[in-house]
Amino acid sequence: METFAQVVLDGLLSGMVYALVAAGLCLIWGVMDVINFAHGEYLMIAMYVSYWLGFLANIDPVVSVIAAGVFIFIIGALTYLLIIRYTVGKPPLAALLATFGLAMFLKNLCLNRFSPNFLILSDTWLGGKTFQLGGLIFPAPQLAAAALALIVVGLVYLLINSTRFGWAVQATAMDREAAELMGIDTERIYILIFGIGGACVGIAGGIMPSYLAVHPEVGSLFGLIAFVCVAMGGFGSIPGAFLAGLLVGVAEALAGFYIAPVFKYIAVFGLYLAVVFLRPKGIFGW
């Protein structure tokens, strides 16, 4: 029983991280109907930002999350200005393929600049620390990442649902032209949405070097799982993506422990198929 609880707990904690990574993607997808294939690479770059700040300036990842969030905000906005802007109105695949090219470029740029070495920050505040509650072990870095996920996802949800900016975003998502007629600067909205979506994943990447090695390939699988979470949650639904992230985390942990570790990701992708076959628009989709 204790093992079962521990497995579920580990699943929930990693699920929170998936949810945080997915939240950014979800925002971009919901507002612009664009699948950003470079999302995992944003995560990887954020990890590099946090790593280098820790390595060169001795700043702990807990603090660097802010810098990483800001940096990826800029990268996200630039992605929109330099690439996505030109794919609006073109076949839906155009943005996907362009960001696939971007992902390839970013991955190899980091390989070129930072070498393919696996970089690990030693002596971080949280690294290796754990709390014990009953028989359960709570690893500190994952706990911090989960707390960040709750905060950030909550803030984004509030931003979209109860601010003027959020209403403008929703109007733009529903009908761009009508929103423009209402005096909304939709171009600005798109830039900001790409930036905020990037900032979410940037914050996730910022905290991760506390427990994960940084290297150019680190983001790929996270990106893929984020796609699955977003689609499972339902088109642009942030609570949906959050719930899906938790489900994915728990499914992965249970399958990994009770079936076999190699079935971890089979369970994740299988769960997605099961969900969309039952609800073709995702859990909260309409």
Partner: protein, 426 residues
């Protein structure tokens, strides 16, 4: 976008496409003039998930070539003391990137041999790439030197032009089991059960199969068999599975970033077996060991080289200096040094055969025992199939950030810390 730049882009793309379409038809280019050079091709995974290892291997071959081509009287390695080979021949390397993919590796092997007209190949780190790439070389009767691919299947193919320096995972597994027996005998360790954790790739799978064979032969019971997908986002369920069956000893074939994640996850789960022994893997990477710091302590693994072997292998130090200048200060590890040895032994064979006929050189390689100050034990000797039977490795343990030699006892410079210190006592 203005009209002008738009049509410029169109013309640019079209022109690029045309150039590329035409270039395959322009052939190999003029044959190199009768300069005295020997072209050797290298194939390593320079990009992709194992690029770290691939780039270090490439640097090792470059280091060896620098020693062969130039006069280095301070280095006590054959051929270092004179310039070039065969009265003035110099070696020129042509590098290729396999991306860690078998199909790309095979295509690059063909390109290097046919297009670049290299005389021999060195590579390819991944066993799955070495297989098809060496097959190409064999069919064209060209020598393929394999430094560090460890799959035992490579040298069971009876190839004539294939030579592999590293010990196979089969011999390593037997060594590991010997260590367990030795501990049971001398320390009353009471090791009975074994867990195996490995990445589910050609390398990991093969190592695990050999481990299970060796364990069965040694009378140990494998209670946990844990393959995982490399590049994992977390290893929680893998570690929980290990913890659940609680084996006395664990053999690991875990590479790179997965290795550090594995160690950290075990720490978080507050679990350790009595002993962990690793195949050539993340454990050997000096950068990872340094970054993991105290967490990496007391893990064990086999290694053909590490900086702490200096007293056994005095010739390495000056060579390593050149190597470090190419890697930004990273020293040799057990894999990369084997690639340097591969290059050096090939050059020695060319020199001894006094010929550039691949058949003669392959025959010479097979018939002689080679001095190799960069190898543990100092000798290289190939047998049928191309395996180096003098390949040795020492079981080491990380103590205070240093790879201390533990087994065989006659080479040891430290006492084993057994069982591993639990996480809360560190």
């Amino acid at each position: 976008m203005s009209r002008g730049s738009r049509s410029f882009v169109r013309w640019f793309i079209l022109a690029a496409a045309l150039c590329l379409l035409v270039s395959p038809l322009t052939g190999a280019g003029p044959a190199l003039a009768a300069e005295k050079i020997i072209k050797i091709g290298t194939i390593f995974p320079l990009t992709g998930p194992v690029a770290t290892a691939g780039q270090r291997c490439q640097a090792a071959v470059q280091t060896a070539v620098e020693i062969i081509n130039n006069k280095h009287p301070e280095i006590k390695v054959p051929l270092a003391n004179k310039e070039g080979l065969l009265d003035g021949y110099k070696i020129v390397l042509v590098h290729a990137d396999s991306q860690g993919k078998p199909d790309v590796g095979k295509a690059e092997a063909e390109r290097l041999l046919n297009q670049e007209k290299v005389w021999a190949l060195i590579g390819a780190y991944n066993s799955s790439v070495s297989k098809p790439a060496s097959f190409v070389a064999e069919r064209m009767k060209r020598i393929f030197m394999c430094g560090s691919s460890s799959s035992a299947a490579l040298t069971q193919r009876d190839m004539k032009y294939f030579f592999r320096l590293a010990p196979t995972d089969a011999t390593e597994s037997v060594d590991f089991v010997e260590v367990l027996k030795w501990l049971n005998k001398t320390k009353k360790a009471g090791i009975k059960t074994l867990g195996v954790i490995y990445e589910n790739s050609e390398f990991g799978k093969h190592a695990a199969e050999e481990a299970k064979k060796a364990a069965a032969a040694g009378g140990f019971k494998v209670v946990a068999d844990v393959p995982f997908s490399p590049g994992a986002t977390n290893l929680n369920s893998e570690v929980q599975t290990l913890k659940g069956s609680n084996p006395d000893a664990v053999f690991g074939a875990v590479l790179g970033a997965d290795y550090s994640l594995w160690v950290k996850t075990m720490k978080q789960a507050k679990w350790l077996p009595k002993i962990v022994i690793n195949y050539c893997s993340g454990y050997q990477d000096p950068v990872i060991a340094k970054q993991l710091g105290p967490d990496a302590e007391y893990f064990m693994g086999s290694s053909g080289y590490s900086p702490q072997f200096a007293s056994l292998m005095p010739a390495v130090a000056p060579v390593e200096k050149i190597f470090k200048s190419k890697t930004g200060g990273v020293p040799f590890d057990g894999n990369s040094i084997q690639e340097a040895v591969a290059m050096l032994v090939l050059a020695q064979a060319i020199e001894k055969a006094r010929s550039l006929d691949p058949d003669k050189v392959a025959k010479t390689l097979m018939e002689n025992t080679w001095d190799s100050p960069l190898s543990l034990g100092g000798k290289v000797k190939f047998v049928k199939g191309g395996q180096n039977v003098q390949a040795k490795s020492i079981i080491t343990q990380l103590q205070n950030g240093q790879y201390k030699r533990i087994y065989p006892e006659k080479m040891a410079d430290a006492k084993i810390v057994f069982p591993m210190k639990p996480w809360d006592k560190r």
